[in-house]
């Protein structure tokens, strides 16, 4: 059986966080010049850049959809992003994650408005510390908005996990490697609709339900940060605040 490494001491996690605390999040909108939309995001020690190209002509032609845009999502880890160098190029894990991330956005992107085109989302992990796909989804939401892609909602994402028998929010790498379960989700905050869900490890049904609630609550917090970053990006250049108050 696995040795239990002590990840919780005196009711706190090794990095000082409580069970329901997120790591610090930093968001910058529109960081790349060539991409149509982009976002740089940090979630704890995760550093991720998301870029969106499109809608643009879709190649190859035979892969076009006459009725709507085709969305491609590529999640990729830079070779220097992990302790052990990761060989460049897609591996099975990245391919699965790319699929899960793409599907997380399917319910919100209004693809019918751009038939026959392609919308490409690229997420590059520059530095990883567990929860990379959740950081990627959060950044991609903002990059899609920044690119002017019409969407019904933003998508927010976070993971919960089980460490030393407790369900906790937003595992870091040490917790993920030594924990008993990891459950990333993606959600539309406005409607509490879940668009991605995976669970890896072993938990009881009750732990699952508790963990899901914890994660959904955190997604609301993250949504507020995403929204604020998008709004502040234009607000900070306003010269007269009173004009807004007039409305």
């Amino acid at each position: 059986m696995k040795e239990e490494i002590e990840l919780i001491k005196d009711g706190k996690r090794l990095d000082g966080r409580g069970f329901d605390e997120l790591r610090p999040i930093k968001i910058e909108v529109g960081v790349l010049k060539r991409a149509d939309g982009s976002c740089y995001l940090e979630l704890g020690d995760n550093k991720v850049i998301a870029a969106v190209y499109g809608p643009r002509e879709m190649h190859p032609r035979h892969a076009q959809d006459a009725k709507m845009a085709v969305v491609k999502f590529r999640y990729n880890m830079a070779p220097f992003s992990t302790d052990d160098r990761k060989r460049p190029g897609p591996d099975r894990r990245s391919i699965e994650i790319s699929k899960v991330c793409r599907e997380a956005f399917d319910p919100v992107i209004m693809r019918e408005l751009y038939p026959k085109t392609g919308i490409e989302v690229y997420v590059e992990l520059l530095q990883s510390d567990a929860g990379t796909r959740t950081a990627g989804i959060n950044a991609a939401s903002i990059a899609l908005a920044d690119a002017g892609i019409p969407m019904k909602d933003l998508v927010s994402s976070i993971a919960v996990g089980k460490i030393n028998g407790e369900m906790v929010l937003d595992l870091n790498a040490a917790e993920d490697n030594n924990g008993e379960a990891d459950m990333p989700i993606a959600m539309i905050a406005r409607t509490n609709t879940i668009t991605a869900l995976q669970m890896d490890g072993r938990i009881t049904k009750e732990e699952f339900e508790r963990g899901l609630k914890l994660a959904m609550g955190a997604c609301h917090q993250i949504y507020e940060l995403q929204r604020a970053a998008l709004i502040m990006r234009y607000n900070q250049n306003y010269e007269s605040k009173s004009k807004r108050e007039e409305e």
Partner: protein, 228 residues
């Protein structure tokens, strides 16, 4: 007036007034774009970014990408290609244009001012030549996001009028964000700089005054230099 919204923001319950950049769900109007919401008349969200989507009547600057008899294939800075039929030039051609010599009239990479005549269901876009605007040699093209075009034109054309006067240039602003400038070299450089500045600061207030000040101070600087 300048309220920024993000996709999913609730805008109103008056679903009958829902316009561009919004969607209706269960009796409520929500934003579908990241942009500036406007509730006078229709409830719409003007996007801060996004690709130009051609619509009938738009006058735009296209770039020839391919000659595919009997059409020129034209790039409109849009996700969709457009085509210009060889007969569109019959008014200005000296003789019947043969398929073989289409490139003598419009070659790949040439710029042309066109009008969008039809956008059909399959997103095939038909164009006609806009004859009253000619892109003669010696000009330059500036490209800005099409969403910033209204700002470059200004309310009742106030901004573009000021630019033309103070830069002393011929400036043609097309709906797809492509802008044609013609004038002396230094004047064109000034006009480009100012247009890009307007595009960058398009969402701020007091822009017209700031641009006027920028142009005036530039002039004063130039005059000072000349006087030595």
């Amino acid at each position: 007036m300048y309220q920024v919204v993000v996709p999913g923001d609730f805008l109103s319950e008056e679903t009958k007034r829902a316009g561009e950049g919004t969607y209706v769900e269960e009796g409520k109007v929500y934003a579908s774009q990241y942009g500036i919401v406007n509730v006078r008349g229709e409830i719409k969200v003007v996007p801060l970014s996004g690709k130009y989507m051609p619509s009938n009547g738009d006058v735009v600057i296209g770039r020839i990408t391919e000659i595919s008899s009997p059409f020129w294939i034209v790039d409109l800075a849009s996700p969709y290609e457009a085509r210009l039929h060889v007969s569109a030039l019959s008014g200005i051609a000296r003789e019947q244009i043969e398929f073989g010599n289409m490139s003598e009239y419009l070659d790949v990479d040439d710029l042309v001012v066109v009008k969008v005549m039809d956008v059909n269901m399959l997103m095939k876009i038909e164009l006609a030549l806009q004859e009253d605007v000619e892109l003669r040699r010696g000009g330059r093209l500036v490209e800005i996001p099409h969403t910033k075009v209204p700002r470059v034109i200004g309310r009742s054309g106030s901004m573009i009028k000021m630019l033309k006067e103070k830069c002393n240039c011929f400036i043609f602003v097309a709906k797809n964000g492509r802008i044609w400038i013609r004038g002396k070299r230094d004047d064109m450089a000034l006009a480009s700089t100012v247009i890009l500045k307007i595009a960058r600061e398009s969402h701020t207030s007091g822009l017209t005054d700031r641009v006027a000040e920028f142009l005036d101070s530039f002039r004063r600087e130039k005059e000072r230099e000349l006087r030595g």
